[in-house]
Amino acid sequence: MRIGLIAMSGVRLHNHELIELGVTLPQFVSRGKVIASLPSLGLLTVAALTPPDVEVSYIEVDTRPEDDALEAFDLVGISSFTAQIEEAYELAGRYREMGVPVVLGGLHVSLMPDEAAQHADSIVCNGAEGAWPRLVEDFRRGRLQPRYDGRRDRVFEEPYYAMPRFDLLRGRPYNRLTVQTSRGCPLNCEFCAASLRITSSFQQKSVEKAVAEIRAATETTDNSFLELADDNTFINKKWGKQFLKAIAPLGLRWFTETDISLADDEELLDLLADSGCRQVLIGLESPSAGALTGLDPHDWKRRRVEHYLESIERIQARGISVNGCFIVGLDDHTPEIFEEVRDFVRQSHLLEVQITVPTPFPGTPLYHRLHREGRLLEERFWSRCTLFDVNFHPKNMSVQDLEAGVRWLFKETYNEREFNRRKRHYIEIMKKNRFRGTGSEALADVVAPQLEEAMQC
């Protein structure tokens, strides 16, 4: 039996003016290229949960494939985020017309099961753990069920856990690989459409499992840059320190997402710098407290905002760059927010910046609230769930004001001059730290002759 596992990949954007800006502004393009080149960890996990006597192919689809490019598998599994789901449905339809049964899965499917079920022979909700092996067995016996629900808990424990099939990536030109150490995040921000929506609580792999996966992933490539597919890696600081000590000897360069409380723990920061972590992405959302009220159930981010600047400085002073994420157009925001964010970025010297608009991904609390309030622009807008396309009526500005403000902020933040200014700040930090935290501490030795010359003068 042959199963094709298909990941809908690529960055999607529909705002033509932003697209035009994107091709000329350096930083947005560089981040987009990175996201577009990550393999689908979900499908690699599905492959691992497939019985060994079944042949599995892992395929990524960025653009609509021609008819003759569609292989006649016995079964196809397609995973997609919301922005590509309509394309996934179309592809599913084409396979089904060929007589190939299709299973759909992924976050969007889990949150919109009734919709997805119309386009597939079967759907898998939540993760594949606890579901995919049953599905394959049922398929073999000719009794594929319309829906399978994977586990929402204990996904990293036996008998449900399986190490993703990183070997399927061998020989492919990824510029970074991905491993997941945790699912979920207790902050539960209303806009979040990540793994917390398919898990019952924050779950994290043992350090041993996480390290074993990192070893397996990095063995498939000569380029060992790693991106952890976590929503929030350092919720558990004790686990985090054990993890960092364990990976320090591996010589990695890596990236992850976490929250600003990372800056509170000096020991954790030191270990992070020495582990090869190059960048952390942190959801700052807004530089003003008002907009953060109610964003998460405990107002956690609102209570942190007055410490944002010093926290960013503390992290970056270790040589670990921060990618600060902002959402403009939150309910408390007025048109002044665009200058406020621009000024905050300048003041904070964030090396990288991500600017998005509130995106009501289906199934999120944000989606349900905006739907209740009658503020969604359309009933179905999945292909526009790109983080950059506006899909709702903002509270204190028009849609056009928000779109224009985002364009302005993109130009102000992502232009070469501003990017170079942020780069310059980071370069000076690296010199001051003798390259600690850069993942290239040996540079200090290569640079050493200059120091010797200076001492001889």
């Binding site: 170079n420 850069t438 290239s440 002759p449």
Partner: protein, 91 residues
């Protein structure tokens, strides 16, 4: 090897720049070509490219203009930029 490339190989700063690139690319210095793009060919990520700039500035006691930072993508770019920086210091 063309004349330009040969000239660069005899460039006095070439061994040090090559050593820095090799350290970041985790490769044999002899495998680095004059026009190999740091990111596309040598797989030096964007943050490591900043480390490269920092290291070169430290090693040669120069400071590149900020508008040059995005242009330093190959050994040739770096050697050219060093020559320009040194000329400015001498002037």
């Amino acid at each position: 090897m063309n004349i330009d490339a040969a000239a660069f190989v005899r460039h006095p700063n070439e061994p040090a720049v090559r050593a820095l690139l090799a350290e970041l690319a985790q490769t044999d210095p002899a495998d680095i070509g004059l026009d190999d793009d740091a990111e596309e060919v040598l797989a030096i990520d964007s943050l490591s490219r900043l480390a490269l700039v920092a290291a070169i500035e430290e090693r040669f006691d120069v400071r590149f203009p900020d508008e040059k930072l995005s242009e330093l993508r190959t050994m040739r770019h770096v050697l050219d930029a060093l020559d320009e920086a040194r000329l400015e210091i001498a002037a």
